[in-house]
Subunit: 285 residues, 2 copies
């Protein structure tokens, strides 16, 4: 499969798609990213992703390298050139190329822009959702600025690998007080015995997930009660249901936490319903 | 100035020196690095840097991509091709190129190796040392695995920029208990009124600096008392002297912390002596 990427103004074959070794993304993880779902060849909830992108860049004082409308054109073009109907588009923006020095370049440089897209296997993902995934818990060990969607992801890499090592798919971070913050690459949710859906407030400790935000609209529309509050790992292990959200997984049921069965050990009805209904409330572009 | 870099088996001009956009160093900061001083065209304390490199790679379960002897040949060759007599050589090893996924690639890939070298201005650095530098303190906000010399450096970038914004050169992290851990790109030291040199133990909270380790040998040889213990920012601001150590700065006197003058507001005699004596105790290769 020949894949095409956009890199700093050019569409390249993946094997020729490269960035300079002094790109600050490579030497300092000085950059941000977004992942959008692609469905029927269209980008899901793009406006919200772009708003978050702007915020991440602003927090790092990286200039937006091109107008949002141009960026949208590029993202659609990468999706088109890769013939992705169902999958994800990945956008990364870094501070750019400069002689290595921790502080920002004295003379601002042009930020680097990379866009890739790839197909996911819808049938396989539906199958995974029908079975549910396992998660483990790991101690929260990331810096507090997880509200910035940066590529400084080494702690997340190690957490995710720890999950794989234990035969699980995701790792949930647990803070020193016992509260779940979020997953290594997803937001964490539980459902109570009373049928309330619980997730932590995005005020601290987590990334403000786009799928998370859209799901709140879904809950409101379906008149399912939302409790936006912290929950402990202990409460999660006793919950009626659990699931994670992310752009690539939408609503993915969790059937075990730390090898303890959640509910009946199969995807819960509320989780599955939210997964089914989700795209009725998404914006497509 | 045409600069030459080694990238995955080839010596390239800097402008052509690139890595794939799916290098995990770029998307996940999944890699490590070392910086060695070059003096008289020779590499300083190379063996210790290589030992730390091996430890960092091992902690991340990244395979050493080539024998250490070959790596040493490459580093010397990059120094030679760039005609560096005084300066630094930079080595970065990442987990390699793989389709984006947080967890390690299921099939191990070849790690990426990048080596660059550049000249520093010795006269300018000596001038800086003669004047001393200013540091600010910032809250410690990095993950606990700062013992791994990884490229997941965004927190350090922001700390260093915060220092620049305040007209200072370095930022010292201060933990919630008020203790200084280390600088954004250096180890932190103070000298007491009694002439003892104080630095935090490398058991937790800091990178085990190579320049730091060599300096301990210097202190022993010069019969200067070392206190390896935590010190608070308050103690540091009242100290007789302060300085930082790193491969690119060796011993760099600090003359102000948070705009509070240290000692007489000029480099202290012990700091300057340690800077002068340092290379008598270094290994050259």
């Amino acid at each position: 499969m020949s894949r095409i990427a956009y890199v700093n103004g050019f569409y390249r074959n993946m094997r020729d798609a490269c960035v300079n070794i002094e790109d600050r993304g490579y030497q300092f993880s000085d950059g941000v990213y977004e992942v959008c779902e692609i469905r029927d060849g269209r980008l899901v909830d793009m406006a919200r992703h772009m708003a978050r992108l702007q915020r991440s860049l602003s927090e790092l004082r990286i200039a937006m390298p091109m107008p949002l409308t141009s960026l949208a054109v590029v993202m659609h073009e990468v999706v088109r050139r890769n013939r992705v109907h169902y999958g994800i588009v990945y956008l990364q923006i870094t501070r750019g190329v400069a002689r290595r020095d921790h502080a920002f370049p004295a003379k601002p440089v042009q930020p680097s822009v990379v866009v890739t897209a790839r197909s996911l296997n819808l049938a396989k993902n539906q199958d995974t959702a029908a079975k549910g995934i396992k998660v483990i818990t790991v101690p929260e060990n990331r810096w507090p600025r997880v509200d910035i969607k940066s590529v400084s992801l080494l702690p997340n890499v190690l957490a995710k690998q720890a999950a794989r090592d234990e035969g699980a798919y995701e790792a949930w971070y647990v803070d020193p007080d016992g509260y779940v913050t979020e997953g290594a690459s997803s937001n964490a949710w539980i459902v109570t015995d009373q049928g309330s859906v619980v997730t932590r407030s995005a005020e601290s400790g987590i990334l403000s997930g786009i799928t998370r935000a859209v799901l709140m609209d879904v809950l409101a529309a379906l008149q399912i009660k939302l409790e936006e509050r912290p929950f402990t790992a202990a409460e999660a292990r006793q919950a009626a249901e659990a699931f994670v959200t992310s752009a690539s997984q939408i609503v993915m049921p969790v059937v075990a936490i730390d090898n303890q069965r959640i509910g009946k050990g199969e995807p819960g009805p509320i989780s599955l319903r939210l997964r089914e209904e989700f795209h009725r409330f998404s914006a497509f572009s």
